[in-house]
């Protein structure tokens, strides 16, 4: 059976959904962050697949940028988590409700 672009996209979709579910379900801020990373990567996979469809490298360049941004984002996010942890002694997002209206 021949593998189609669609297969890759479905896999990307599944990974994205899994990451999303994790973001919604998990309470540990670090794990949520990891799930976010997974979602980003799912998008990356789709981008690479599209780049193949278009026979163009631009998609891959974009993935490159995405990875860079993800790295920066992870660093900042982790720093925030550390700062929050210092304040509240927890990484449980349920207890981070300072923004409550």
């Amino acid at each position: 059976m021949e593998i189609q672009i669609a297969h890759y996209l479905v896999v990307a979709g599944i990974l994205f959904a899994v990451g999303l579910t994790g973001v919604v379900v998990r309470r540990n801020a670090i794990v949520i962050l990891m799930c976010l990373e997974l979602m980003l990567n799912a998008a990356n996979l789709a981008l690479v697949a599209f780049s193949r469809v278009h026979r163009d490298m631009q998609g891959q360049v974009f993935v490159f940028f995405a990875i860079t941004v993800a790295a920066a984002e992870a660093a900042v996010m982790l720093a925030i988590i550390i700062a929050v942890y210092r304040q509240r002694q927890t990484v449980n997002v349920d207890e981070m409700d300072l923004m409550q209206g």
């Binding site: 999303l20 973001v23 919604v24 349920d94 981070m96 409700d97 923004m99 409550q100 209206g101």
Partner: protein, 657 residues
């Protein structure tokens, strides 16, 4: 004969002299009592003198002379102009003479009566203002003007009744008078609107408020038929509504309740306004606009019966009153009912005649009562008695007034009452009412006189005759009351010609003096009607005799009659419970509506709607606030749900493409 311009100028002077006096007193001379009194009294005496000159001029012009009309535009809208001015003809001059002469007497009397009152200047300013308003009605050229001064009379009445403003009963009485008049004016306004636009609808943009214009239409058979065909039943309604205004001012049932209460004002006020002039305004207006009533038959019938009913009602209440001013007040009501009844029976001339004579002797009676009250410091006739010896001038003048009112030959009341009974002769029911009222009038007046002036003094202190400034006006009025009626006598000596005053009055309101009425033909010869006169005089004498038997000689006991007719007595003392009914209407029904409206406003409109919207916004905000839990999960989930919906919308859109 005077020039038309001179006549108009004189009328303006008569009209505005009291106004100028009132304004001057208010603005400048409040502090100077003498000056205030001089201005006020002088302006009215001037009016009286000029009125007599105008009256002489009218006589020289002869019956049926064209009126002198002068007016200027008061307000102007496209296609509609409102005018104000003076209309001088026999009726208006007669009325202004009555106002001027009676007014002069009363103003002079007030100089004595109000002596030492702290509000002296204020009183004379208001008094002069009243004279102005009344004269404004008198000289009105159109419905709008008469309505304007109509209202002004209402105000001055309010101010003067409530003169002793610190007395709650006086303040209430003023309010009551004003409001009752307002209800009458409510009808009058609608009547004027109805008539004004109905005439315009048929005849286009003419000045259809003007009396002369309307008179021209109503006395022209073709035009009138055309108008009535267009108006249908509204013609009678319009006339009746205008009459409702007269009901307010002339205190006809059911709007009569204010007049007895109006006695709260100082006695000169009662004499001038609530006996002689203001209450006559309603009758005057009916006469003034008689071309309308004469042809609106259904309205005329209502006028006649309302007048007759009021006469009977008031006379019966007067019998049981103990307050001397209240007796006279109910007597006034009753006499007004007479006049209105006469107008309703196509006897506008008779009504007007009675108005004039009644003004004199009723003013006389009130001033006499004032003199008595001044002496005894009480209003109750049972606190008086035997005053005949102590107050000679007051007594003989009061008796003159009483006999005139009772209609004893040859006093003034006899002549005018005779006219009224003559016109009612062909309407049997009302004729009986008229005769009965004549009897009752004589009886209650006799009762008052015998109780007050004869027997022994039952009050406190030592009553003595009033000062000259008070009794001289009484004497003047008494003389007019005794001899004034001869203007109605058919005699070649009469200044009004062989047929007396009536010949002037009849042609003044109708071209040929003949109108047709469903109950009978309304053409009444001016002069003396022997059959009616005999019956009327006998009734009056009978009434006086009965009063003498009860209260003079004392052979009959009023107490026993009272005991025997207990329920009737209670009913009369309580004035048929009409006042109580109105009180209930105002306190419970009207206030109930007001409270209901306020409840609706405060609880529903403001409470539910306005504050509800505000509270709803706040509540929604409070709820929405909770969704901002500060938790990442909820935010993510909401975003996710939104994205999902968008994606689905997109998918469905795409697939359907």
């Amino acid at each position: 004969m005077l020039e038309a311009n001179t006549v108009a100028t004189l009328a303006y002077i008569i009209l505005f002299a009291p106004f100028a006096a009132a304004a001057l007193i208010t603005v400048a001379t409040l502090r100077s009592k003498a000056l205030s009194a001089f201005l006020s009294v002088g302006s009215v005496i001037l009016g009286g003198v000029l009125s007599i000159i105008l009256l002489a001029d009218q006589i020289s012009r002869g019956a049926g002379a064209e009126p002198v009309v002068h007016q200027f535009t008061w307000a102007l809208s496209r296609g509609m102009a409102f005018h104000i001015g003076v209309q001088v003809d026999f009726i208006s001059v007669l009325m202004s003479t009555v106002v001027g002469v009676v007014g002069s007497c009363i103003f002079v009397y007030a100089l004595g009566y109000m002596h030492g009152d702290e509000g002296w200047s204020r009183f004379f300013a208001k008094f002069a203002f009243f004279a102005f308003s009344m004269l404004g009605i008198t000289f009105s050229t159109n419905f709008l003007q008469i309505f304007i001064f109509w209202e002004l009379v209402g105000v001055s009445s309010y101010l003067l009744i409530g003169y002793f403003y610190q007395k709650p009963s006086a303040a209430e009485a003023g309010k009551k008078a004003f409001m009752t008049n307002r209800i009458g004016d409510f009808g009058m306004t609608i009547g004027i609107l109805l008539l004004f636009f109905a005439v315009r609808d048929v005849f286009g943009e003419i000045d259809s408020l003007s009396f002369e214009t309307l008179k021209g239409i109503f006395t022209n058979d073709g035009a009138r038929e055309q108008l009535f065909a267009a108006m249908g039943w509204k013609a009678a309604l319009g006339a009746f509504l205008i009459f409702v205004g007269a009901m307010g001012k002339s205190a006809q049932f059911p709007l009569h309740v204010w007049l007895p209460d109006a006695m709260e004002g100082p006695t000169p006020v009662s004499a001038l306004m609530h006996a002689a002039t203001m209450v006559a305004a309603g009758v005057y207006m009916i006469v003034r606009t008689y071309w309308l009533f004469a042809w609106a038959h259904d309205a005329l019938v209502a006028v006649a019966y309302i007048g007759g009913f009021t006469a009977l009602l008031a006379a019966s209440i007067a019998i049981v009153q103990n307050d001397i001013k209240k007796i006279l007040a109910y007597s006034t009501l009753s006499q007004l009912g007479y006049m209105v009844m006469a107008c309703g029976l196509v006897g506008a001339g008779a009504g007007m005649f009675h108005l004039a004579t009644h003004a004199f002797f009723k003013a006389l009676l009130f001033l006499g009562a004032g003199s008595v009250i001044h002496a005894c410091h009480s209003n109750d006739i049972w606190d008086m008695g035997g005053l005949g010896k102590k107050m000679k001038q007051t007594t003989w003048t009061f008796w003159a007034g009483t006999l005139a009112l009772a209609g004893i030959f040859p006093l003034a009341g006899f002549w005018s009452k005779d006219e009224i009974l003559a016109v009612s002769h062909h309407a049997t029911a009302l004729y009986i009412v008229g005769v009965g009222v004549a009897f009752m009038t004589a009886f209650y007046m006799g009762r008052a006189c015998f109780t007050v002036f004869h027997g022994t003094y039952r009050g406190h202190g030592h009553p003595h005759e009033s000062p000259r400034v008070m009794w001289i006006p009484l004497a003047v009025l008494a003389v007019v009351s005794i001899f004034g009626g001869f203007v109605g006598a058919p005699s070649s000596l009469n200044p009004f010609g062989e047929h007396g005053l009536q010949s002037f009055l009849l042609v003044a309101y109708l071209k040929d003096g003949v109108v047709h009425w469903p109950v009978g033909h309304g053409h009444v010869e001016a002069g003396l009607h022997l059959d009616v006169a005999t019956v009327g005089t006998l009734m009056a004498l009978g009434g006086l005799l009965l009063a003498w038997l009860f209260y003079g000689k004392g052979v009959l006991s009023a107490e026993r009659v009272k005991q025997r007719l207990k329920p009737l007595h209670t009913l009369l003392v309580n004035k048929y419970y009409i006042d109580d009914f109105y009180l209930w209407l105002v306190r419970r029904v009207q206030q109930g509506f007001a409270i209901a409206a306020n409840w609706l406003e405060q609880k529903i409109i403001i409470g539910v709607l306005v504050n509800g919207i505000a509270a709803g916004t706040k509540d929604a905000a409070a709820r929405l606030r909770k969704t901002a839990s500060g938790q990442i999960h909820s935010y993510v989930t909401i975003v996710l749900a939104g994205v999902t919906i968008l994606v689905f919308w997109f998918v469905i859109f795409m697939v359907s493409e």
